[in-house]
Amino acid sequence: MLIPAYNEAGSIAATIASLRAQTAPIAEILVIDDASTDETSELAESLGVRVVSPPRNTGSKAGAQNFGLQFVSTEFTMALDADTTLAPDAIEKLLPAFEDTQVAAACGFVIPRHTRSIWERGRYVEYLYAFCYCKPIQDYFEKPLISSGCFSMYRTEVLKKHQGWQTRTLAEDMDLTWTYYIEGYKVRFIPEAVCYPIEPHNFHFMRKQLKRWSHGFVQNVLLHWQDTRKIWFLNSMITLVLWDTFFASLVYLFILPLLALIFLNPLFLLGYAIDISSIIVPTTYTAFKRGELGLLLGSIPSFFILRTVNSIFMLEALWSEVVMRRSFRSYEKGH
């Protein structure tokens, strides 16, 4: 289990505790202390975990994970964010996916650990919708869009064959997933394997994460567009995300407000929430099963705020990466 960590003294103890509680045995927990300036390394070592440190800060999570990969000799490698805890049976649930020898990676269900701020609540609804509706459909057609970087399991042989995680984009998890598809491997989504990352709790950190994800997505499209043309479902999903990123963002940010102003009719603003049923219907079922119906209903407004903010960052990423050809490369943590 590789845990890249940069100044994660506040969260790493809980992460390691959740790994110690796993129903499936872990051969070794390896924390890669990426030149932290806090007590991350000391804390991890005090919990009986092996800690390795690159000679200098690697500049990204991918760099830290790659440094740790050289120490892995097991059949499977897992990567877990230092701020992410796992349900006790998460690893046990992921393992059967690899009975298919073509599977190179598998990921699970992601739920924010904390849901206090509007940003965490918005992300809660966003994840619930994506992981209970969209991603299962992607998996049905054997093409989950991403094997989430916060928690995934990989076939070590295949991972090492590709020199681990590439640092050529800001979304190394997306880059790796699409590379696997291009090379004919499979990636699976296992909803029963649940993990709980800490999501950005304020706009300062949410901004950094959204910027990284938005630019990372566009960078991956630019990098892989030729090769993903041959994979119909993946190609279609990428096309639709790009289309919605541009046009839906324009509708959200400009067209709806303009219509309301031009016609002096606030009813046009109903467009921001007219599709509420598409969010509520699938998420209600999962939230009810988890005993979180009240949390879901109370978080719906936050989702619409986050969605609007997300559209700003997506448009900025398209403008910067595609039109201005200015690639954003600074990797900043989201909490």
Binding site: C134, Y140, W213, T239, Y285, R307
Partner: protein, 127 residues
Amino acid sequence: MAAGIPGIGIGGIFYLICGLLLPVVELIQTFRGRSSAARWRFVGLQFSFSGGIVFGFYLTGKLIGWILTATSHQGAAHSWVNAGGTVLRIQPFFISLGTLALLLTAVQIINAVLDSRKTPRLKASLE
């Protein structure tokens, strides 16, 4: 995590249609001997989600229509509310559906043209 805006736009319609068509796809898999009870339970759930979303849209339109009519001057029908009592129109749905079909078809045509020309690989240099 996927960037993008879930739930709206033609991406949402794509998943909606996928969910509604899953029983057909799974039926084909069943005839090929590749199905199972667990897969059919999954298909049933996703189909229910998609069907529920469609019904939810219908209810949303009716609810907004009722509110607008109830709050209109002297209870007269609001201009946005049609004879069926809803603010939703079928035309935008078909426009979105048509856009989805056109976009996916256009992408496949572009792919076919690019393949037929056997253009040299374009390397998106990020390094």
